[in-house]
Symmetry: C2
């Protein structure tokens, strides 16, 4: 670890196609989002471990000796291949003063941090004395993989602090001049990337109980992934596509929506099952188009992607996960010649709008203005972003550095 | 024929489900519309045959002797099982002063009338000396089967005039007191109904060249029909359902729309073919619900029909036959709690809105007002209407009698 510490980031994710259908054995495409979570790790002082999460107002610290003693009490083996034990988590909750049934983001973030810190250090060395600050561009609870991005950053930083993975930074090179470009290669060899992903999945398990593993895979590898029946495959090559990501801010319950789809399928199997087949074919077609596109695609590739957005948005309405706010989102962007679909659970939540290269800045600005006028929150960003990445301070923008420096 | 003549009517039709999918071998449901075409036949004077179509501004008359001579020149056998010959039609066009490539409704109406008059009389007797007036509640060229309703009325009236079918009116009974109620039984026996349908189909062939035969079958039998791969089946029992029929007045080409669907299927077969399968299942499900409904159904049956409307409207958008005017129609009615879909070719044209028994008159009036404010034309009517029907003058409303009396 350099004297300036370590700066690491990981992307959020959106589902491009296949949300809900994936529950019924169909393929889904998940892509890495241009909105990221950033972590700064610095050598700690006075044998303390500190965590600071300015976004959720968390600032905690513990004696390293106390954590080592706690680690000794957790008899079960820590391993990235085993689910965190209920008893382990209960001990950690008690230690950190977290209620047994806590579900608030700040409580779960502390719990995941403590678990990952003790488990990784148990396997690879001593409890590290470090200061960790994490800040995210991602809203929480919006289905954008914010918890996975957090867990990926933690996994990379803690594995690094425990020397379980290499430092892609060359010795002797000035940290200030070192940074990784936004390329597929973040500097860690394949097996170390897998290790980061495995431990990030452990963090996700602490937070979500039984996650699919898609979010942490996207956060680790970036680009685009295909997920079907538990199997995750990276797409061969993915262009970076500009999008608008819009949060309708309409709250929804993923559980209720998933149950509603199941009910519709049981009510009208002959009508609904072909719709799931059609969604599956949309994911397949989209994958083919993405893999055929060059890294900086020309406008000619976009009309098919737009058509697939439109078709799937209709299908998602058919299976009952639409919402008037999403209809409005689609209508507003359509009035500027742009194509949108809901992403994730639906019933409110977020939508994505494709921004083809020939969309004029004026049209994009007008669309953003109109979406904000609906009370929506809107980000102009991209998909197909790189996965977990090491940064030098000079490569990060002032806002990120400022947010992380508040610790 | 009584001294007061004959009053006959036939319904228009709407497609309830399966438009476009039917072109690709899937089932479609066609239902008889509450909007009807009315025909009055009266004994002619001075051995003349007169036709008056106040709706399209047609008033023509011919000497019966002249028509008999013309009939003699048309050497090919007239038969309801054979398509009208091109040469026969050319002779008739020349006789009536209609251009060879005429496609205006008035020209085609005269041509169909002359053909049916000569062909039916050639088979069953003399060219009748009668005055015929036809007036319709149906707009022409809107996909509502107005030409078929016209042909059905003509077939019934001309077969009657030539004594090829019985008079369901009992001899000696005062005409004024006689009328058929709006029931399935229009009074003609099954084989005479088939004869009316066959000759109406001939009229449709004169007007459309190569019609499917669905429109004249609905006009003859009323109720609801299932059509698949050229096979027409009557539904066992059909309730009368209240609807709004809305004409967006957006012109469209059925040919262009059909070609567009075919192109989409060829472009994305794996995505589009399941959508056609789903539409097919919607028609099947709708048929099951209709056949399970009593004649005067209680509100509980409607939510499924509404859900099928919504799903199919999305599917029709997916296959590319939607239109912003139809989206608007659906949105306007949805704002009053009512469910709509396009009917027929799409791309503009007409939409239908189901009016469940629990729709308040206030909501229906408000929906009609808002649809008219969009520049649409809107009728409150019903589907599942009776087929070809004999009426007494007293059973018809003043508007119809007035329109027919202008002759």
């Amino acid at each position: 670890m350099s004297e300036h510490g370590l700066l690491v980031s990981a992307p959020g994710k959106v589902i491009l196609h296949g949300e809900h259908a994936v529950v019924h054995g169909k393929a889904a495409l998940a892509v890495a989002l241009g909105l990221r979570t950033f972590l700064r790790l610095r050598p700690g002082g006075g044998e303390r471990l500190r965590i600071h999460l300015p976004g959720v107002g968390v600032r905690r610290e513990w004696d390293v000796a106390e954590l080592s003693a706690l680690r000794g009490r957790l008899t079960a083996d820590f391993d990235e291949s085993k689910s965190p034990g209920v008893e382990q988590l209960d001990v950690l909750k008690e230690f950190a003063g977290i209620a047994a049934d806590a579900s608030a983001p700040d409580s779960l973030a502390i719990l995941a941090f403590l678990y990952m810190c003790l488990a990784i250090s148990a396997k690879y060395g001593d409890v590290p004395s470090v200061d960790i600050a994490v800040w995210s561009e991602l809203p929480t609870g919006a289905g954008l993989g914010s918890s996975a991005a957090y867990a990926v950053c933690l996994a990379a930083a803690l594995l690094h602090a425990c020397r379980a993975i290499s430092c892609p930074l060359k010795d002797g090179e000035a940290t200030a001049r070192f940074y990784f470009e936004s390329s597929r290669s973040q500097g860690w060899p394949e097996e170390e990337m897998s290790l980061i992903n495995s431990w990030a999945f452990q963090g996700e398990r602490v937070i979500h109980g039984n996650p699919s593993g898609v979010d942490n895979a996207v956060g680790t590898w970036g680009g685009a992934l295909r997920y079907q029946s538990g199997k995750i495959t990276s797409l061969k090559r993915v262009p970076t596509l500009r999008i608008l990501l819009t949060n309708t801010k309409v709250p929804r319950s993923t559980k209720v929506l998933v149950a509603g789809v199941k009910e519709k399928i049981l009510k009208f199997p002959a009508i609904m099952n072909p719709v799931l087949d059609s969604i599956d074919a949309i994911s397949q077609e989209c994958q083919s188009v993405l893999e055929a596109m060059p890294t900086n695609p020309s406008p000619e590739y976009y009309p098919v992607l737009e058509e697939l957005f439109d078709i799937n948005q209709h299908h998602l309405n058919v299976i009952g996960v639409g919402h008037p706010s999403l209809d409005r989102l689609c209508r507003v962007t359509a009035s500027h010649g742009l194509h949108s679909k809901l992403t994730g659970a639906g019933g409110g939540g977020c939508g994505i709008t494709l921004l083809p290269p020939d969309a004029t800045p004026l049209a994009v600005e007008a669309a953003k203005r109109d979406l904000c006028a609906c009370g929506f929150e809107c980000w102009e960003t991209d998909i197909g972003a790189p996965g977990v990445t090491l940064h030098s301070s000079s490569a990060l923008n002032a806002e990120v550095l400022h947010a992380l420096s508040e610790s």
